[in-house]
């Protein structure tokens, strides 16, 4: 299986599902399908994407209701068996609510919905989501959220730091981590993390919105290309 099959989950209220599908299918030419929230099968997907949006209207808490939808039962067991899952924005919130990633996304510190391109420092390029980046590289990718303020208790934060589970931090253009470059008040400027096993990633920025040359920047492609490449590498390792 050198070419992974992607499944993009569609919840009522998802609004970045088509962007993710478009990038994977038409720009990166991957086998990609939509997965409806009522589906109880992942249709043989090798990678599941939980896209951005406002699943179930963000009622109660962002991601709180989506975590109990039929498809999420499958996603949770898929992820627990090592399946690859990416949660973007609302998808990150869902992964945290479902307990697949640690911490939670609180209301932005400034209370406002923030929609802009941010600078992201790649902290760990040694994962299957970031291998096409360099550690210390700065990516330009947009954010668009009202609840992206990453919070976890001190013990959890320390563990994330120690295990190099923090993949991306908000930074200045030159890569310096500052309070001013933190758009939402996230602990330690955290923008994206992986689980300890390295198969589940959640991030607030939208790589799928920075993957088409027409839009002026393509840094987001690096994340998807890293993942696609990782399947080729894994296959070669398995063969040798």
């Amino acid at each position: 299986m050198t070419k992974p099959k992607f499944g993009v989950v569609v919840f009522p209220g998802s609004n970045c599902d088509h962007d993710a599908y478009y990038v994977l299918k038409h720009i990166l030419h991957q086998d990609t399908e939509f997965l409806w929230h009522k589906d109880s099968s992942l249709q043989g997907s090798d990678v599941v994407i939980l896209p951005g949006g406002f699943s179930y209207g963000d009622y109660l808490r962002c991601g709180a209701i989506a975590q109990f939808s039929p498809v999420m039962k499958e996603v949770v067991s898929f992820a627990q068996q090592g399946g690859i899952v990416i949660g973007i924005c609302n998808g990150f919130q869902i992964l945290c609510e479902a307990g697949l990633l640690q911490g939670v996304l609180l209301r932005n510190e400034g209370l406002k919905f923030v929609c802009k391109v941010v600078n992201l420092l790649v902290e760990n390029a040694d994962t299957r989501f970031t291998s096409q980046c360099q550690s210390g590289e700065v990516l330009r990718i947009p954010i668009a959220h009202g609840e992206g303020n990453y919070f976890a208790d001190d013990e959890t934060l320390q563990r994330l730091e120690d295990n190099k589970q923090i993949l991306f931090r908000y930074c200045e253009r030159g890569g310096t981590i500052t309070k001013a470059s933190n758009p939402n008040g996230s602990c330690n400027n955290i923008a994206g993390i992986i689980n300890e096993a390295g198969n589940i990633m959640g991030l607030m920025p939208h790589p799928e919105r920075a993957a088409d040359t027409v839009l002026g920047y393509t840094d987001g492609q690096k994340i998807f290309s890293s993942l696609i490449e990782s399947f080729v590498v894994h296959e070669q390792l398995a063969d040798s």
């Binding site: 709180a64 109990f68 208790d153």
Partner: protein
């Protein structure tokens, strides 16, 4: 039938910018006696059950599984017979 009244609040250790903004507005209205504001959620549930204990147990379970996220929220509730 029982009525459960549930209050979900942000944990003390979590900053509440919304509460701060409301506090600021109260302050500018001249209500300087207000020293802190914390925002939360109020939920009412009608629970079909044969005893108060059972209704409490359903309510507790609902809070733990869905209504509150223990990473950031605390909850308290009361249950009364309708």
């Amino acid at each position: 039938m029982y009525l459960a009244k549930i209050i979900v609040t942000l944990r003390k250790s979590i900053l509440d910018p919304q509460g701060k903004a409301v506090h600021h507005a109260l302050d500018s209205l001249g209500m300087n006696a207000v020293s802190e504001v914390r925002m939360g959620k109020y939920v009412e549930m009608k629970v079909n059950s044969s005893s108060k204990e059972e209704a409490e147990s359903v309510t507790e379970n609902a809070c733990r599984k869905l209504l509150a996220n223990p990473v950031m929220e605390d909850f308290l509730y009361s249950v009364e017979k309708l």
